[in-house]
C-alpha cells in the first residue's frame, strides 16, 4: 500500500504530478472544444431548420459524415491529412514544412464530432419552441437575428441542456483518444508511467478513477446549471 502511495507521490519519485498535469490537459482540451463545438452545432441546427432545401441538405451531409466516422479515424484524418495539406501549402508559400499541433488537431476533430451530435440536440430543441414565439417576436418588430438571439436562444438553452450534458460527458471521455497522436493528456501520461513502473493495472485503474471523478464533478455542476435553466418553470 505504501508502495502505491509512493508511486502516486508528487515530485521526482512519484507520478502524481504527471497525472495531475494530464488531468489538466484533458480538462482544458474538453473546455476549449466546447464553445467551438456548440457554435458549429448551433449553426448546423439553424441550417437544418431552414426552409431552404439546399441549406438543409448541406447540413445533413455534415452530420452524416462526422457522426458516421469512427472518432479515431476522424482524428487521424485531421491529424495526418492536415499535416500533409498544411505542409504542402507551407512549402509552397515559405519553402519549409509545417508541423501540425496535436492539440489543435485534437480540438478540431473533437469539435467536428461534438458539433454533429449537438446539432441534432439543438434541432429537437428547436421543435419544442412554438411558432407563436417567432410570430410574437416579429409582431414586436424584432429582426430575425434579434428574435433568434433574444427570444429563441434563451428558451433553446433550457430545452437542449439535457442532451448537451450527455454530449459533454462523451466529449470528456473522447479526449482520451488524443493520447494516440502524442498529446500528453491523462491517458498518455498514464501510459508513460506504466512504461516506467510496469504497474499497468494500478495506473490504468487510477486513470479510470480520475475520469470517473471528472464525470462525477461534471454531473454535479451540470445539475446546478440545469436547476438554473429550469428556474422559470415553477418546479424544482
Amino acid at each position: 500500500m505504501a508502495n502505491y502511495m509512493e508511486l502516486l507521490a508528487f515530485g521526482d519519485s512519484g507520478w502524481g504530478d504527471e497525472l495531475a498535469h494530464g488531468v489538466l490537459v484533458t480538462v482544458t482540451l474538453a473546455l476549449a472544444t466546447l464553445p467551438l463545438g456548440l457554435l458549429i452545432g448551433f449553426l448546423i441546427a439553424v441550417a437544418k431548420n431552414s426552409s431552404e432545401p439546399l441549406l438543409r441538405n448541406a447540413a445533413h451531409v455534415y452530420t452524416t459524415i462526422f457522426r458516421g466516422l469512427p472518432e479515431l479515424l476522424t482524428l487521424f484524418l485531421i491529424y495526418y491529412g492536415g499535416q500533409m495539406a498544411m505542409s504542402a501549402l507551407w512549402r509552397l508559400l515559405f519553402g519549409h514544412p509545417f508541423e501540425v499541433n496535436s492539440y489543435l488537431a485534437g480540438m478540431i476533430a473533437l469539435a467536428l464530432m461534438f458539433s454533429s451530435y449537438a446539432s441534432e440536440v439543438f434541432l429537437s430543441a428547436f421543435k419544442g419552441i412554438t411558432v407563436g414565439q417567432y410570430e410574437g417576436a416579429y409582431a414586436l418588430g424584432l429582426s430575425r437575428f434579434r428574435t433568434m438571439l433574444l427570444i429563441i436562444l434563451p428558451q433553446l438553452v433550457r430545452l437542449a441542456l439535457p442532451g448537451l450534458s450527455n454530449l459533454w460527458l462523451i466529449l470528456l471521455k473522447d479526449t482520451s483518444l488524443v493520447s494516440v497522436i502524442g498529446l500528453t493528456d491523462l491517458l498518455r501520461n498514464t501510459n508513460i508511467a506504466v512504461g516506467v513502473t510496469k504497474q499497468a493495472f494500478f495506473f490504468f485503474f487510477v486513470a479510470c478513477s480520475l475520469y470517473l471523478v471528472m464525470s462525477i464533478i461534471s454531473s454535479v455542476g451540470l445539475r446546478r446549471v440545469s436547476a438554473w435553466a429550469e428556474r422559470g418553470q415553477g418546479r424544482h
Binding site: S51, L73, A207
Partner: protein, 275 residues
Amino acid sequence: MTYIDAPSTERPPAAKRRTWTSARITGLLLMMLWAALGLSIVYMLVSGYDPEKVTKYGPRILSGIWVTVKLVAMSIVLGALISIPVVIGRLSHNPIIGGIAFGYSYFFRGTPLLAQTFLVYYGAGQFTDVLKAAGLWVFFRDAYFCAIFTFSLNTAAYQAEILAGAIRAVPSGQWQAADALGLRPFTTMFKVILPQALITALRPYGNEVILMIKGSAIASIITVLDLMGQTRYAFSKSYDLQIYIWAAVIYLITVEVLRRLWEMMERRLTRHLRR
C-alpha cells in the same frame, strides 16, 4: 355597389417567392463546397489508384473488415447476455444488488473505452502468474480476446441502461392489469412487459450498435488488426493518405446502411402504433 353573384374563380395570388435569399445562396455555396470536396476525394482515389498497392493491401483491408465484423457482432451478443443480470440488478429493490449494478454501469459508462481497453490488456500483464495458474493467460495474452472482453463489458453497461430504462417506461398499469389477470410475474415479464419495452429500446439499441462499430476502431491501438488496424498498418508502410480515406468510406457506408436498415425495421415493427 358591386355584387358578387358567382363564386370567384380567381385564385389567391401566389405567395411571393424570393428566388435568391441569403439562405439559398449559403446553401448553394455549401453544397458546392461539399461537391468540390467529394469530387476531389474521388479524383484522388481514381488518380492515385495503384494496382500494386491494391494487391498488397487490398486483402489485408478485407480481412480487417471481417475482423471488425466479428469483433462487433461478438461484443454486442456477449454484451446483451451480460446485460441481463445487470438489468435485473438495476431494477432490483435490494440496495446492495442495485448498488453493485449501478456501480458496474457507472464505471463502464463514465470512463473512456480506450482506458478500459488498456486496463484489461496491459493490466492483465501484471497478473501473469495468477492468470497462468487459472489457465486464463491464453485468453488475456491475445489482444483480440482482450478487445472482445472489454467491449462486451462496456456495451453490456450501455445495453443494461437502455433495457432498464425501457422496462421502467412501461406504464405500471400494465403490471397491475397482468396481476389482475392472474399472470405469474415470469409470464408478465416475457409476454406483457418485454414486448412493449423492446419497442422503446429499439432505437437506442440501434445507436448502440453504431457506437460499437465506431468504437471498435479503438481495438487497433492494442494491435488488433481490424479494419482500422490494417489501415494504420498500411499507412505506416506506404504513408499514403488514400488508405485512410478508403477506410473512412467503408465505415461511413456501413454505418449509414445500418442506420437506414434499422429505421426501416423500426417503422415496420411500430406500424401498429402509428395513427
